[in-house]
């Protein structure tokens, strides 16, 4: 089903402002992982060691769980780079998001927002560029409303890859990323897989045989 879709070879470069929506509320963990990965990628490209802020509302934390530092670490986000901002209401979260972005103190900020208005997203875009930070709006549900986000993603969960040792166990995590809208009109559908060595996400090479993309895996296979 998925392999029938076209799969471009590379993901678009990180933009200053992206929207990451979970295809369904239960995919929020996958969406969060994807957003963290995009934020880290952007920071790594620029050799930026500033912290990454996560702005959540109390309601989101109660409903979807709170960030677990050790889990984030396995995605490449170290404890010492995490800044968690908790707001009581969405309006406060929006304010904190904008303030964090334009402060210039963070490499990227992930903000959990349900329904930011178009004007609000425009402001976030400006704030992100002013503070040289990446802005990622994290939404629990996709929505077709207007947004100033340069890239809009829709993230779903996918059955994990085959575990190298135990066929009954979940293997490296996989998720699907649909580029629903972008400024330059490109769309696409990607399947990403968590590298079991680095913990980072990467494009899954194929559905049946994982690991062909990375050279070191090949070497291991031969050895």
């Amino acid at each position: 089903m998925i392999s029938a879709l076209s799969m471009p070879a590379v993901l678009p470069d990180p933009a200053s402002f992206e929207e990451v929506a979970a295809a369904e509320p239960q995919d929020v963990a996958s969406a969060t992982a994807f957003a963290i990965w995009r934020a880290l990628q952007a920071a790594q490209d620029k050799d930026d060691r500033r912290p990454v802020a996560l702005i959540v509302t109390s309601a989101f934390q109660n409903e979807r769980g709170r960030l677990f530092g050790w889990g984030a670490r396995q995605l490449g986000l170290e404890h010492d780079r995490i800044l968690l901002v908790r707001a009581r209401r969405e309006a406060e979260a929006l304010w904190a998001f904008e303030e964090t972005l334009k402060s210039g103190a963070v490499a990227a900020a992930l903000g959990v927002l349900d329904a930011p208005s178009f004007v609000a997203t425009r402001r976030l875009d400006f704030a992100a560029r002013a503070g040289q930070a990446g802005a990622l709006v994290l939404r629990a549900k996709p929505c077709g409303d207007l947004s100033a986000a340069r890239l809009r993603w829709r993230i779903g969960s996918a059955p994990s890859a085959v575990h190298p040792l135990d066929a009954r166990a979940p293997g490296p995590s996989r998720l699907t990323a649909e580029l629903a809208r972008s400024r330059d009109g490109k769309t696409g559908f990607f399947t990403l897989e968590q590298d079991h060595e680095t913990g980072r996400l990467r494009l899954a090479a194929g559905l049946a045989d994982h690991g062909l993309a990375a050279g070191q895996d090949n070497a291991r296979r031969v050895a």
Partner: protein, 477 residues
């Protein structure tokens, strides 16, 4: 029942404090009375003490109805001692408070003059306390009743009568504690013995002060008056190489109350712009100015050494600069969202997931980790506390094959586990019973969503008082 306080009208009938209520009713049948509220009075007096910080940083509450102000070296700020006393009276009058004021070299003499001189305002010139109180009754020395009665028996009625008596004899005549108390009170009033005051609030080291010609009634007025205050405070801090960690803005209202706005800083700072912004974020409009405030005070309640800015020699210059930006950001967020709204994680020595990290209030520098990675895969989002699930699993210790969480059924396609975590028996056991072992399973349902489930309790070993139960503790990416 006795009278606790009387107003002017009652005084005209000859009523006085301490009189029994029945007697008072007999003298003045139309007497209106209400039960005394000593606790409320004490609170009002404490509030008034804070308001008096506009005259002196050292204000002490004295008993149930008095205040001491240490005005040493400060009277000239108010146009001299007499002008100061008059200003206090006028301001209290405006706030509807009747008071008597006295200024003297010692707290004891001032106490005596304020209460027993029969005047609203008394002033003992420097070095003149001895003469000023000589004609007052001995009660004015803050003596207890027994001592006063004894003095009356000896015919000693005025404080001046005691001056010429030999001190040793005086102390001996009043045997025990009373004699000592009498001599001590006399010495305190005359300044022979020191009497330290306990201030209501510790006087701050750094404070900037602004009296306004016209009372301000809204936040715009405060915002307008603030910048010079912040500048002044910053100068004081810079002189001593300090930075503020806790900031307070006090507005002195015309009705004799003080309202305060406090803001904490995650790192010491003395940049006026930052201090101003912080107070504005905190919400100047939350200051209840009532009918107006005519003085503002900005204090650094806590200060820490702050060396002049220096970029790190070896470190990343950009990183050092971002530390400052980060401190500013954290302060602004916490001022608006509340204390502890910004946090950073710290790994902690514990294998129980919910205890393996702590979220500490954020500072510009990340907290030092206490332990390393648990070394096992961990989910990205954690439910704390865990949520119960209904699971179907093979006994005694297999992964569940189905489970229901939040009324949605999940069929397990892949599972890994158990990862067995034994309880921390050295900690107090949970309310529902003894500690139990947890078996954690990473499971994936047929759609590809990954959950972290655990079973609390082992079958046949820990299920005596309640059966093992399944919980969800987290979700994976």
């Amino acid at each position: 029942m006795t009278l606790h306080a009387v107003n002017d009208a009652a005084k005209r009938f000859g009523l006085r404090r301490g009189q029994s209520h029945a007697d008072a009713r007999a003298i003045a049948p139309g007497l209106a009375s209400a039960p005394a509220e000593p606790a409320e009075e004490a609170r009002a007096l404490e509030a008034l003490a804070l308001w008096f910080e506009r005259f002196s940083p050292l204000v002490a509450v004295d008993g149930a109805e008095g205040l001491f102000l240490d005005m040493t070296g400060a009277a000239h700020l108010f146009g001299g001692e007499e002008a100061l006393l008059r200003e206090i009276l006028v301001r209290l009058e405006a706030a509807g408070i009747k008071a008597c004021v006295a200024l003297a070299d010692t707290p004891g003499a001032a106490w005596a003059l304020a209460r027993y001189s029969q005047r609203r305002m008394s002033l003992a010139p420097a070095g003149g306390a001895r003469d000023a109180i000589a004609n007052l009754q001995v009660e004015a020395l803050r003596l207890d009743e027994a001592a006063v009665r004894l003095l009356a028996r000896f015919g000693l009625q005025r404080i001046g009568d005691l001056y010429n008596l030999p001190r040793a004899g005086l102390a001996r005549r009043f045997r025990g504690q009373e004699g000592l108390a009498l001599v001590r009170r006399l010495d305190q009033a005359l300044g022979v013995e020191a009497e330290p005051l306990t201030p209501q609030r510790p006087p701050p080291d750094y404070r900037a002060w602004q009296v306004l010609a016209e009372p301000i009634i809204d936040r715009d007025g405060v915002a307008f008056a603030l910048p010079p205050l912040a500048q002044a405070l910053a100068l004081q801090l810079e002189r001593d190489g300090q930075g503020a960690r806790m900031l307070a803005l006090d507005a002195f209202r015309t009705d004799g109350r003080v309202v305060r706005l406090k803001a904490g800083l995650s790192a010491p700072s003395r940049s006026p712009a930052h201090l101003l912004r912080l107070l504005k974020e905190k919400g100047l409009e939350t200051l209840d100015l009532g009918f107006g405030a005519d003085a503002l005070m900005l204090t650094a309640l806590a200060a820490e050494p702050l060396a002049g800015a220096q970029t790190e020699l070896a470190g990343d210059v950009r990183l050092a600069a971002s530390d400052n930006l980060l401190a500013g950001l954290i302060d602004r967020l916490e001022a608006k969202l509340g204390e502890g709204a910004v946090r950073r994680p710290q790994g902690v020595e514990s294998h129980l997931p919910e205890r393996s990290e702590r979220w500490l209030p954020a500072g510009p520098r990340p907290p030092e980790p206490i332990c390393a990675d648990p070394g096992r895969p961990r989910p990205l989002l954690l439910f704390d506390p865990p949520e119960p699930v209904e699971a179907i699993a093979e006994l005694p210790d297999s992964a569940p094959s189905r489970f229901v969480w939040r009324r949605a059924a999940h069929r397990v396609a892949k599972a890994q586990g158990p990862e067995r975590l034994s309880p921390e028996w050295w900690r107090p056991s949970p309310a529902q019973g003894p500690h139990r072992t947890r078996d954690y399973y990473a499971v994936e349902d047929d759609v590809g969503r990954r959950f972290w489930l655990f079973r609390d309790g082992l079958y046949n070993r820990e299920d005596l008082d309640r059966p093992p139960h399944w919980w969800i503790h987290g979700v994976w990416a």
